[in-house]
């Protein structure tokens, strides 16, 4: 890695450039782009979880005024590729999960489309379905790889022997439930199919990802597909890959050429076809010597995927690098069920995978008579236990120590269940946090000097509410050595050069690197006094350091919990996180990312739980009244800090990514604090009042 760029704009708490437009309501989200004579789509969803469609009666629906076309598997245009069965929409009579599309109505108004969809009568040949995950199923299997390309299993040393001979042993099972991403803006697509090709306004984490997926599925030249997404109301992974709703909208657009087809997914529908986090069953075994030094760590995970497509959450992967232990083992086993396809949800793998082990570490600390921070410090590895490589930077212990100072950890009496204040039992807890630095090739940036004396910086990046508009402007300004006012950033459009997805906390790193490279080339080619129209392209170069170092962000999460002694109600008046994530590009938007992640972790700890009813096979609590997400009243004091970490190895900005680490470990910190408050160890999320009743 050549030297880090000099910073002036980077590191400043610049206000969001898109803030005023969003506050005034003038920032167009996918549904709001002005189009001529739009029509509206409402889907018909399967009411069985497995079987075949035997008949569809559309007569009553067709009779309604304003109905233009009704799609079924019998008349839908044919797709080109069945490689991804999740996207094989209306191509066969097979039903693989409840809520799957079996039809759609396109009408002149959304109300008519919805009413007509309710009038479409579908008959099925229903088969018995299987939607229940358990660790003792006899059909669990090992996938070839798990998400993000990790090995399914790892094994070093002899875990069983080490645990058998350990002075202190722990063997417990932890579970996390199915959870659904629910960004404020549900998935929305507007599709226009005409002689020029296909235009999509889509709520997505990556316009180029949508373009390549759609072009491949429909067998058309990617150059004939344009995807536009300047503003996106949250994604969290749910909009990282296209889901069936995009395919359905494009199929419909093909049937009404020239008419823009709008499909805004309802909140209830968010629980059936846009992905979710698999439930996990995690057996954690730890062995330690009498001083609390780990001799063995085993993390065996059982989770689910869909029968039609494999998605294997990489739940045990953080265990491979968190703590030093000579004997280590991690495994992933899957049950393939008659359910929709699981997918990315903020920090896939790391979020559930840092619940079980980080609660287990708290239990081990008590068993060893050690402070949980001291236990973690004693097990700090010198090099990455997984790869044997040194870390480009690893500041877990520094985060734990600074967090302890800021939180007031030193005064803590470790005895559980003894502090009663006004009828509430009070406790505090800690857990570690980790997230990898993902570098992905493929992003390109273009810089052009315009007649207005400003630099147009073009890249097909996505701002899903993270602050990319602002952070990339800051990076471009510093890379060019100009004030931020001289940068005209253009993102969210496939008309701009290719950009990788806003996922894996890698957007700013990958896109920023492309911009820095373009700026360096631009200055090399055109100097500091460029001619009008001068331009240059850039892309992230190969990083030899990625072969020499293990690259991760780390953090420490602290929580205070109060549990009502009579009713078991649980409150979290205070959370504090300290993170080491390289250089922070914009402290203002970074803080939002981190406390947003911590809030989502709080929500995971106390609330979120998608309930599958085995009678039917779908999520029955599929709205915001029943699927609880933390509200304002649940969130108390939230503080996020970061270390000034210098890491010259990760990328030219020295930044590691902050979109996900805030959620990782938060639920474990709250579970550990709950135990400290009550003496009750809850190993199954969410932690609800009934589990704390006496």
């Amino acid at each position: 890695m050549s030297g880090l760029i000099e910073t002036r704009a980077i590191g400043a708490p610049m206000e969001r450039l898109d803030g005023p437009a969003k506050v005034r309501g003038t920032a167009p989200y996918a549904f709001e782009h002005p189009v001529q004579r739009p029509v509206y789509l409402h889907p018909v969803q399967a009411t069985i979880a497995r079987g075949r469609v035997t008949a569809v009666d559309t007569a009553a629906a067709e009779a309604l005024d304003g109905v233009l076309v009704i799609l079924t598997h019998l008349n839908a245009p044919r797709l080109d590729s069945d490689r991804d069965k999740e996207l094989w929409v209306l191509q066969s009579d097979e039903v693989a999960y409840r809520g799957q599309f079996v039809g759609a109505v396109v009408a002149e108004s959304s109300e008519v489309a919805r009413e007509a969809a309710g009038l479409v009568e579908v008959e099925y040949d229903q088969q018995s379905h299987d939607v229940e995950l358990s660790a003792d199923r006899d059909d669990l299997y090992a996938p070839e790889k798990v998400n993000a390309g990790y090995e399914t299993d790892t094994s070093d040393g002899d875990v069983d022997a080490a645990i058998a001979s350990a002075a202190v042993r722990l063997d417990e099972t932890y579970t996390t439930p199915m959870e659904h991403n629910n960004p404020m803006e549900p998935h929305t697509t507007v599709a226009i199919w005409n002689d020029h090709g296909l235009t999509l306004y889509d709520s997505t984490q990556g316009v180029h990802t949508v373009r390549s997926s759609v072009a491949h599925l429909f067998g058309i030249d990617p150059e004939r597909v344009r995807v536009i997404a300047p503003y996106v109301g949250g994604g969290f992974g749910a909009k990282g890959m296209i889901h069936a709703n995009v395919v359905l909208t494009v199929l419909a657009a093909q049937m009404v050429p020239g008419r823009p087809v709008k499909f805004a997914v309802t909140r209830q529908q968010m629980f059936s076809f846009v992905g979710y986090r698999t439930p996990t069953i995690q057996r954690v075994r730890l062995g330690a010597d009498s001083n609390g030094r780990l001799t063995a760590i085993a993390h065996d995970v059982v989770e689910l995927t869909s029968r039609i497509k494999e998605f294997a959450e990489q739940t045990a992967t953080p265990t491979r690098t968190m703590y030093a232990a000579p004997n280590r083992r991690t495994t992933h086993r899957l049950a393939a069920l008659d359910l929709p396809v699981p997918s990315w949800m903020r920090a896939p793998g790391k979020t559930p995978g840092m619940f079980g082990p980080e609660v287990a570490m708290d239990e081990l600390a008590i068993a060893c008579g050690l402070d949980p921070i001291e236990l973690r410090t004693r097990n700090e590895p010198e090099v990455d236990p997984e790869s044997g490589l040194p870390y480009s930077s690893r500041n877990l212990v520094a985060c734990l120590r600074e967090g302890a100072d800021r939180f007031g950890w030193k005064q803590r009496d470790p005895t559980p269940g003894v502090r009663l204040e006004d009828g509430w039992l009070v406790g505090s807890g800690v857990a570690s946090s980790i997230y990898p630095v993902y570098s992905r090739p493929g992003s390109r940036a273009n810089i052009r000097f315009g007649s207005d004396g400003r630099y147009a910086v073009r890249i097909g990046a996505a701002d899903i509410g993270t602050g990319a508009w602002t952070a990339l402007t800051q990076i471009a300004a510093d890379a060019l050595g100009v004030p931020v006012e001289s940068v005209d950033l253009q993102i969210g459009d496939t008309a701009a050069p290719m950009a990788t997805v806003a996922g894996g906390s890698s957007g700013t790193g990958n896109w920023g690197w492309a911009i820095v490279d373009a700026a360096r080339t631009f200055r090399g080619d055109h100097g500091t006094d460029p001619a009008e129209g001068a331009e240059a392209d850039g892309e992230p170069g190969a990083n030899p350091d990625s072969e020499r170092f293990a690259m991760y962000s780390f953090g420490a999460q602290f929580a205070e919990v109060r549990v009502h002694a009579d009713t078991g109600e649980i409150r979290v008046p205070r959370m504090l996180g300290v993170f080491a994530a390289g250089r922070i590009i914009n402290p203002r938007t970074a803080r939002s990312q981190l406390i947003g992640g911590m809030t989502m972790g709080l929500s995971m700890a106390l609330h979120e739980d998608s309930v599958i009813d085995p009678q039917f096979g779908h999520v029955v609590n599929h709205d915001f009244a029943e699927y609880h997400i933390a509200g304002n009243a649940d969130v108390g004091s939230l503080q996020a800090y970061w270390l000034h970490e210098h890491d010259p190895h990760v990328n030219p900005m020295g930044s590691k990514g902050i979109g996900e680490i805030g959620i990782v470990g938060a639920a474990a910190a709250i579970a550990n604090a709950t135990h400290h408050a009550t003496g009750i160890r809850v190993r199954d999320l969410p932690i609800t009042a009934d589990k704390l009743l006496r």
């Binding site: 309710g118 078991g568 009813d613 009678q615 029955v620 709205d623 009244a625 304002n632 009243a633 649940d634």
Partner: protein, 330 residues
């Protein structure tokens, strides 16, 4: 959503006539429940008669004592009303424990009473539900029942009534004023809602076309020391797992009078008369409170997911009664 007609009623008689004469008609109050149901296909009225603007929007002292609450008074306004806050704090607390600020700004007194269960199967037209479609079966019996009934349920329906306000009104023994096609009548709140029995599609004893015009609170000095406690899965904007509305009159350590109602446990707000009987004349202490709770909950029957409601209801009632005694001492 199906097309429907909309009328704004000019007076109560007119509104009642419009709805009573048309089987598919419904009154529209704040719309916070009915409009959702229309979107979901749970309700399919062909005529909405808007009664939210009828002149039932005041809270007034009654000549013989007590207070009359107009049917169209919004929940947020009622909760803030000084008469209510001072003389019937349990009602104000119950209102503020319900829904969200935005919903309370729209929801009306009558609409709150007549809101329908939040049972997930009732709200999902793709699953059987005897309340929505009589005879189709009860999906909850063998399904997700964290929020369901432990008292008074039947094999046909195990849903609970979701209102907080109605629980307070039940403890206060409020009287519901009803206008029907053949004139007016009064119904005790405790008798307004039904147990499901074999007709869970009927939430209340009201006939089609009957319109609630007011709710009367009796003169009740002991209500000045009253509490509403709601236990829920989130600090705001969540329906009750268990709630308790209670008031106590205590002299020299003995309970002279007690009013107790539970929410979240049954198809209707549950007046706990067995508990009240135990409390009456007994020493106002923890042991009595526990006995009272146990007496009321002895008949509880739980489903797959809601066994916790019994100890939770017991603990909550004991805590509320303890708080009431402490409050009176202050």
């Amino acid at each position: 959503m199906r097309p429907f007609e909309y009328e704004r009623a000019s007076d109560a008689v007119d509104a009642v006539a419009s709805v009573a004469s048309r089987p598919g008609a419904a009154f529209l109050g704040g719309g916070t429940n009915l409009i959702d149901h229309m979107k979901l296909g749970v309700a399919t009225p062909d005529l909405l008669v808007d009664v939210a603007r009828l002149p039932f929007d005041t809270v007034e002292s009654l000549p013989g004592g007590g207070v009359r609450i107009g049917a169209a008074v919004r929940n947020s306004g009622l909760a803030a009303e000084p008469l209510i806050r001072e003389r019937y704090p349990v009602l104000s607390q119950a209102l503020l424990a319900g829904a969200s600020g935005q919903l309370r700004n729209l929801a009306t007194t009558a609409g709150n009473l007549l809101q329908r269960t939040r049972c997930v199967y009732f709200q999902d037209v793709t699953t059987p539900c005897n309340k929505r479609e009589p005879g189709s079966g009860c999906s909850a019996l063998h399904g997700y029942t964290r929020y369901h009934a432990v008292l008074g349920a039947s094999e046909h329906c195990v849903a609970v009534h979701p209102s907080d306000m109605a629980v307070a009104l039940t403890a206060l023994d409020a009287l519901v004023q009803v206008q029907g096609p053949d004139g007016g009548r009064s119904v005790r709140v405790a008798e307004l809602h039904r147990l499901p029995g074999d007709a869970p599609d009927r939430d209340t004893v009201l006939e089609h076309g009957e319109l609630i015009t007011a709710v009367d609170l009796p003169e009740l000095p002991m209500a000045a020391h009253s509490l509403y406690r709601k236990v829920r899965d989130r600090a705001s904007y969540a329906f009750a797992l268990v709630s308790v509305a209670a008031m106590l009159d205590v002299e020299d350590g003995t309970v002279l009078e007690a009013r107790v109602a539970f929410g979240g446990l049954a198809h209707k707000p549950w007046r706990a008369s067995r508990a009240e009987d135990v409390l009456l004349g007994a020493p106002a202490n923890e042991e009595t409170f526990r006995r009272a709770a146990d007496a009321e909950l002895a008949g509880a029957r739980h489903l797959r997911d809601n066994a916790f409601k019994v100890p939770m209801a017991r603990n909550t009632l004991v805590a509320v009664l303890r708080d009431l005694v402490q409050e009176r001492r202050r």
